[in-house]
C-alpha cells in the first residue's frame, strides 16, 4: 500500500490500581499523504490517546501500547526505543499540534527559541540560523512581524496567535504526518476558521498527512476527507466525509449527527443520545454501545459486532448491518 500511516489493531491500555482501562482497544485505520482523517468521539473515547500512541507518547506512567502495529512509510514504530523515537520520529516525521494554546507553550522561553528548539534538536541548523528558520516558520503561520515577535514570550500573545506558534513548532522540521488534537476547541469561532484555513494551506504546501482529532462534527466536516468515529476505545464507523454525513450507518454516528442543530429546521429541542459514556473500567459485554442504543438486541448484549464493509470505503461495527 502507498499509505503514509497505517495503524493496525492498536491497543493502548492504562494499568491503574483499580484495574485496566482499555483506552484504545483494537484501532485500525490508514492515512495517505495529503489526506485528512478526522478522528471523532466524545471525551474519553480514546481519540487523544490514539494520537499520542502514534507519537510513542502514551500517557505515563500508566499507559502502555500492548498490541498492534503503527507503520509510517512502511516502517514499524511500535517497539522503537525512546531515543530513536525522539531523535528520528517525533518532530521530524510526525508532529503534534496540541489542544490548548494557552498551556502548550513554555512560559519562560521566547516563542522564537521554542520554534527553533526542534530545528536544533534534529540538527537541521544551529545557533543563529536555527533562529532564522524559526522566524521563517512563524511567518509561514502568519504571525505578523515575525522577526520582532520571535523575541516575545507566550504571555504576550493572544490565544489564536499562540496556537499559530504551536503550529509553527510542529511544522518546523517538515514532518510527513501532523496530528492535530482539538486544535481549535479553545479558540473563538472566528479564530477557529482562520486557524483551519491555515492548517489547510500548510497541508497543501507540505503534502503532509493530517490526523485531525476532534469532538466537533462541524469542524471535521469542513476539513476532513475521511472520518473515523470512535466509541469506548474502538472505531465504530469510518467513511469518507460525504457518505458519513449523508448515510451514517452506526446508531452512534446517527445519534451524533441528530444531536447537531440544523439550519432552517424548526426543532423545539435538540435530540441527544440517551445515557452516558460507559465506565472505562467496566465496559459492557458485547457491543460497548448497546446500553445506549435504541435498536439493541440480545445479540448486541452478548457478542461484539464485527466490522462490516458497506462498500464505497464505508465500514461500521454493528450487528444491524449484517444483512443489509
Amino acid at each position: 500500500m502507498d499509505k503514509l500511516l497505517s495503524v493496525d489493531g492498536l491497543k493502548t491500555h492504562f494499568f491503574l490500581k483499580r484495574g485496566v482501562v482499555k483506552a484504545v482497544d483494537g484501532v485500525s485505520f490508514a492515512l495517505a499523504a495529503g489526506e485528512t482523517l478526522g478522528l471523532i468521539g466524545e471525551s474519553g473515547s480514546g481519540k487523544t490517546v490514539t494520537g499520542l500512541s502514534i507519537l510513542g507518547l502514551p500517557p505515563r506512567p500508566a499507559g502502555r501500547i500492548v498490541a498492534g502495529s503503527i507503520r509510517l512509510d512502511g516502517v514499524e514504530l511500535v517497539g522503537l526505543s525512546e531515543r530513536t523515537l525522539a531523535s528520528e520520529i517525533r518532530g521530524r516525521k510526525i508532529a503534534m499540534i496540541s489542544q490548548d494554546p494557552m498551556s502548550s507553550l513554555n512560559p519562560v522561553f521566547t516563542v522564537g527559541s521554542q520554534v527553533a528548539a526542534p530545528i536544533r534538536a534534529h540538527g537541521l541548523a544551529r545557533g543563529r540560523s536555527a533562529m532564522d528558520l524559526a522566524i521563517d516558520e512563524l511567518a509561514r503561520v502568519r504571525v505578523p512581524s515575525a522577526t520582532e515577535r520571535a523575541g516575545n514570550y507566550p504571555h504576550q500573545f493572544s490565544g489564536g496567535m499562540r496556537q499559530r506558534v504551536v503550529a509553527a513548532m510542529a511544522i518546523a522540521c517538515k514532518p510527513r504526518l501532523l496530528i492535530a488534537d482539538e486544535p481549535t476547541s479553545a479558540l473563538d469561532v472566528t479564530i477557529q476558521v482562520q486557524f483551519m484555513d491555515l492548517i489547510e494551506s500548510i497541508q497543501a504546501e507540505t503534502g503532509a498527512g493530517l490526523l485531525f482529532v476532534t469532538h466537533d462534527l462541524g469542524v471535521a466536516a469542513s476539513l476532513c476527507h475521511r472520518i473515523a468515529v470512535m466509541y469506548a476505545g474502538q472505531i465504530v464507523e469510518s467513511a469518507d466525509v460525504r457518505t458519513l454525513y449523508a448515510n451514517p450507518a452506526h446508531p452512534y454516528t446517527q445519534g451524533l449527527l441528530e444531536s447537531l442543530p440544523k439550519l432552517g429546521a424548526r426543532q423545539s429541542r435538540l435530540s441527544s443520545i440517551k445515557g452516558t459514556p460507559p465506565d472505562p473500567l467496566s465496559l459492557p459485554d458485547g457491543c460497548a454501545f448497546h446500553p445506549r442504543c435504541p435498536h439493541a438486541t440480545d445479540r448486541c448484549r452478548q457478542q461484539a459486532p464485527p466490522s462490516i464493509d458497506l462498500g464505497d470505503g464505508q465500514r461500521a461495527s454493528c450487528w444491524l448491518l449484517e444483512n443489509a
Binding site: 523515537l85 517525533r90 513554555n106 512560559p107 504571555h155
Partner: protein, 305 residues
C-alpha cells in the same frame, strides 16, 4: 522597573525602622539601666543625676529620635566586652559569616538541585528513594546535632577534617555541611514537587512531541520553570544563614557574627546584641530585594515594567 526598585527600597527602609523600634523597646523592657550602672548605695539624687546624664528623663519620643539618629549612622555604642564600637565589631566578623553562608548555600544547591530534579524525573526510582531519605533526615535532624555528629565522626574519629576554627578550605567543609543540611531537605522537596507538576504539563508534552531530547527537557525547559519557587527558598535560607548562623558558628567555634552575638547575649553586652539584630534585619531586607528582582530574569511574566 526603576519605580519598583524605589518602592521596594522604601518598604525595606520601613522594615528596618520597625526593627530599630523593636530593639529600642526591648532595651527599655529589660530593666532600668541606671540600676545596673550605679552602686548599691546610690541615693535618689544620684539616680536622678544619672538619668539626666543619659537622657532618660526626656520624653520617650525624643529618646527614640536620639537612638534612631545614632543607629542610622551605625552608632550603637561601644561593646562592654571588647571596648570598640559594636557595629564595627560585627562588620569585622561579617566576612567570616559570609564565607560560611556562601559555602553552606553552595553545598545545599549542589546537592538539592540534582536530587530534586532526578527524583522527579525518575519518580519511584532509587534516586527518588535516596532523596526522600535525605529529605526526611534533613528535616528531622537539627543542624547543631548534625554538626556535633560530623565533629565526632569526621573530625575526631576519622581525623579527616579539623573540628573547629577558620582558616583553610578544610575548616570550611564541616560547618558548611551542617549549615546547609536543613536547606538541602527543604529545597529538594520543593524542587521535586514543582518538577513533577511541570513534567506533566502541556508544554512539556508539546516539547516531547516535537522530539526534544528528554535530557534537555528536564534540565533546561522544565528546570527553568521550577526555578522561581527554588530561588525564593534560596533567598530565605541565605538571609537566615547570613543574619545569624548562631548555633552552627558556636558549635564549630566559627569567628563570625552569629557567635559574637551569642557571646554578647551571655555577657549582657547590649550594644552588640542590638547591632546584631539590626544587621540581621538589614541583611534580610537586602537579600529579599535581590531575590525579588531576580524573578524577572527567570520568569518573564514577573517583569516589573
Amino acid at each position: 522597573m526603576r519605580q519598583y526598585i524605589y518602592k521596594r527600597l522604601w518598604q525595606g527602609a520601613i522594615a528596618i525602622v520597625g526593627a530599630l523600634f523593636i530593639v529600642f523597646i526591648a532595651q527599655r523592657l529589660s530593666g532600668d539601666p541606671v540600676a545596673l550602672l550605679l552602686p548599691m548605695d546610690a541615693t535618689e539624687e544620684d539616680f536622678a543625676a544619672m538619668r539626666v546624664e543619659l537622657g532618660l528623663d526626656r520624653p520617650f519620643v525624643v529618646q527614640f529620635g536620639l537612638f534612631f539618629s545614632d543607629a542610622v549612622r551605625g552608632d550603637f555604642g561601644d561593646s562592654y566586652l571588647w571596648n570598640q564600637p559594636a557595629m564595627s565589631l560585627l562588620l569585622d566578623r561579617l566576612p567570616a559569616t559570609l564565607e560560611l553562608a556562601l559555602a553552606g548555600l553552595v553545598f545545599a544547591i549542589l546537592l538539592a538541585v540534582p536530587l530534586g530534579v532526578l527524583s522527579a524525573a525518575y519518580r519511584g526510582g532509587w534516586i527518588d528513594n535516596t532523596a526522600k531519605l535525605f529529605a526526611m533526615l534533613g528535616q528531622a535532624m537539627p543542624g547543631f546535632w548534625v554538626g556535633l555528629l560530623l565533629i565526632v565522626v569526621i573530625a575526631v574519629k576519622l581525623q579527616w577534617l579539623p573540628a573547629y576554627g577558620r582558616g583553610t578550605l578544610a575548616h570550611l567543609i564541616l560547618p558548611a555541611i551542617a549549615l546547609g543540611w536543613y536547606p538541602v531537605a527543604a529545597m529538594t522537596r520543593t524542587l521535586r514537587s514543582s518538577m513533577l507538576d511541570i513534567l506533566e504539563s502541556d508544554y512539556i508534552r508539546m516539547e516531547r512531541a516535537v522530539g526534544i531530547p528528554e535530557r534537555l527537557i528536564i534540565w533546561r525547559y522544565a528546570l527553568r520553570n521550577a526555578a522561581v519557587p527554588l530561588v525564593t527558598m534560596i533567598g530565605v535560607y541565605f538571609a537566615n544563614m547570613l543574619g545569624g548562623a548562631f548555633v552552627i558558628e558556636v558549635v564549630f567555634a566559627w569567628p563570625g557574627v552569629g557567635r559574637t552575638v551569642v557571646e554578647a547575649v551571655f555577657a549582657r553586652d547590649f550594644p552588640v546584641v542590638q547591632a546584631g539584630v539590626v544587621l540581621a534585619s538589614v541583611v534580610f531586607v537586602v537579600v529579599n530585594l535581590i531575590v525579588d528582582l531576580s524573578y524577572g530574569f527567570i520568569d518573564p511574566r514577573i517583569r516589573h515594567d
